[in-house]
């Protein structure tokens, strides 16, 4: 009914002068930015999301400094120990330090998620842009995307992993294949909208080259929704990676991925709950943080949405 931003801007009386119009525009822009930042910081969710993601990244980067143990070091004497000052998150069935494994797991999960997000974003924009520019390419590319989208993403990822073999590189490839169709559709849709706008028409009239129009004028205008979507792809890549590893089809075993730790933990769930709880909580928290951050970024970019 009453939206902030829509009514809080006081319009000075209409004036003739161009300078005043320019001033008005600037003050409007400034006001808009103010609203955006206020919206972002006022929304506890997005601040929480940003904090969680930052902390996770820090923990992952600083893992070698923080941890006293090697995540792969075996210590069969101290196996399946509960949490203690020595091992904060206890030890697993081979006596490895769970705290170290969870932190190093953050490295793997975040790296996979980040790579998948960025690659998907880039490929999605590439495909979407060219699809929007060329009818034939559009038909072929979008039919393939439809076909890929018809296969539920987890199952597609599992199939790809079976075919490619369990390996961290293949995890990234599979997840990219799974996420690109959605991103391409989004980028194409946005590009189509931008294409219709008059300034692109006038660009064409001015004789700007096709590639130039695509990358210099259309791409920057579709980037905001793509960034938001990248955040969500990031989050879902972390989930799917963990699920794949949990099923034994993701990052190969000794590596401390969250899914792997959970997989081990499931086998000893009656005796060693900490093997499930800690990596599980880290996964859930990171994903939650990314989702909240994505929502926050969307509100920041488009304060009127919601």
């Amino acid at each position: 009914m009453m939206r902030e931003g829509a009514i809080s801007v006081e319009l000075p009386y209409v004036s003739e002068g161009m300078d005043e119009m320019e001033q008005l525009r600037r003050s409007l822009e400034k006001e808009q930015r103010g609203i955006r930042i206020r919206r972002f910081t006022k929304n506890r969710g997005s601040v929480f999301g940003l904090t969680v993601v930052t902390v996770m990244v820090m923990l992952a980067v600083l893992a070698p400094v923080i941890c006293r143990y090697d995540p792969l070091a075996l210590d069969t004497v101290n196996r399946l120990q509960g949490s203690s000052p020595e091992h904060w998150f206890g030890t697993d069935s081979m006596g490895r330090d769970v705290f170290a494994r969870v932190l190093y797991g953050a490295r793997i999960s975040l790296t996979v998620g980040f790579l998948v997000g960025i690659t998907t974003g880039f490929l999605g924009v590439l495909i979407g842009l060219y699809a929007s520019a060329n009818k034939v390419a559009d038909n072929i590319l979008m039919r393939i995307c439809d076909g890929l989208k018809a296969i539920p993403s987890t199952l597609l990822a599992i199939t790809l992993m079976t075919v490619l073999g369990a390996d961290i590189k293949n995890v990234v490839i599979s997840l990219v294949v799974v996420s690109v169709p959605g991103m391409a559709r989004l980028a194409r849709g946005q590009a189509m909208v931008v294409r219709e706008q008059t300034y692109i028409e006038s660009m064409k009239c001015l004789g700007a080259g096709k590639t130039r129009i695509l990358w210099k004028h259309i791409a920057p205008n579709i980037i905001s929704p793509v960034i938001v979507q990248v955040t969500f792809v990031f989050a879902s890549a972390i989930i799917t990676e963990a699920a794949l590893s949990f099923l034994g089809a993701g990052v190969p075993a000794p590596a401390p991925s969250w899914g792997n730790i959970l997989n081990e933990g499931k086998g000893v769930i009656y005796t060693a709950w900490w093997l499930v709880l800690y990596p599980g909580a880290f996964t859930a928290l990171t994903v939650l943080g990314l989702n909240l951050l994505g929502d926050g970024i969307r509100d920041f970019i488009d304060p009127m949405s919601n």
Partner: protein
């Protein structure tokens, strides 16, 4: 004068927003008589629609709106009624027609169904009777082939037809008052005229009070008996159509009338415009609300808020300078 059926007395409606209460209308008082057409005019954002929807208490009272003042319908204050009792008034005694028929008619029900529903809620009649009456209503509002149209969905009708359907829904139970909120704004000019003719015809036929809310003064001049001019949530002038158009007293009313395009005006002659724009709600100027845009405003106008004063038998105005200018004619 005819029977007085609705009295609005010092009505205030405030909205709860993120930044506290916002006064959308501020002390509005007027009456509606049986059989009359009352025009309410003003620029968008002046509180016309809020006034009409407040009368029917359509705003969510838990989360959105706070009402004060009284709306007396046949002597009964509507704000004293429970929601249940209010439902018996809405659609049966006081009806409403909205601006955009396409979005105001439910897209997934047939038009016949939507007219029948109004009948079946308020009148204890069988489905068969309701259907018959609904078809009759469709015919009455001038829809050709009412039996066939009965089974059509709103999106299958033209804009004018949809508006007629909405009028049929509103009039199905023969209300005492019809509130029409910009009923022709979304339509083509020729269709506008047809719909206005229909409104006038219904007003005579059913002997009800019609509140016509519009920003189109020409329509008011042609159809209404009395006029309220609103500005920033207040009534600034009230009077018979002749008063308002022949002897407007408030500078705002004068501005509105001067800005109606005239057929006999010279080509190239600039249309009159009122300086400035309507200030945003919550940033109401001190003193007279119109003062910042008023060409005549003096020192008094900027500090002291004027009252709505009776200047003659039928006319009221909210302006410090009105007396002086009324003398001058």
């Amino acid at each position: 004068m005819a029977e007085r059926i609705l009295e609005v007395d010092n009505l205030c409606t405030q909205f709860k927003t993120e930044r506290g209460l916002l006064k959308a209308i501020d002390g509005v008082s007027f009456e509606v008589y049986r059989g009359e057409m009352l025009g309410i005019v003003g620029e968008s954002g002046c509180g016309k629609s809020v006034t009409s929807q407040s009368i029917l208490r359509l705003y969510d009272e838990k989360n959105l709106a706070v009402y004060s003042g009284q709306v007396r319908f046949e002597g009964q204050n509507l704000f004293d009624l429970s929601q249940k009792e209010m439902q018996k008034i809405r659609g049966a005694r006081i009806s409403m027609v909205f601006q955009d028929a396409l979005s105001s008619l439910n897209p997934v029900f047939t038009v016949g169904n939507q007219i029948m529903e109004a009948l079946m809620i308020h009148q204890n009649i069988s489905k068969k009777d309701a259907r018959e009456k609904a078809v009759k209503m469709l015919g009455m509002v001038g829809i050709p082939d009412p039996e066939g149209r009965f089974f059509q969905y709103p999106f299958e009708l033209s804009g004018g037809m949809r508006q007629r359907v909405m009028i049929a829904v509103a009039l199905a139970c023969r209300p005492d008052i019809l509130i029409a909120d910009e009923p022709t704004t979304a339509l083509d000019v020729t269709i506008q005229a047809q719909i206005m003719d229909l409104m006038v015809e219904m007003n005579r036929k059913l002997d009800m009070g019609v509140m016509l809310i519009t920003h189109d003064l020409a329509v008011v001049a042609e159809t209404c008996h009395r006029v309220l001019v609103m500005y920033l949530g207040q009534i600034v002038e009230e009077g018979l159509v002749e008063d308002i158009f022949d002897r407007p007293l408030h500078p705002y009313t004068k501005g509105l009338i001067a800005s109606i395009p005239k057929l006999d005006s010279q080509k190239g002659e600039k249309l009159h415009q009122i300086k400035g724009t309507v200030p945003v709600l919550g940033k109401v100027p001190e003193g007279c609300r119109f003062a910042p845009r008023c060409p005549y405003a003096g020192a008094e106008c900027r500090t002291k808020a004027p009252e709505l004063k009776k200047v003659n038998e039928s006319q009221k105005v909210r302006c410090h300078l009105a007396d002086r200018r009324a003398d001058r004619g």
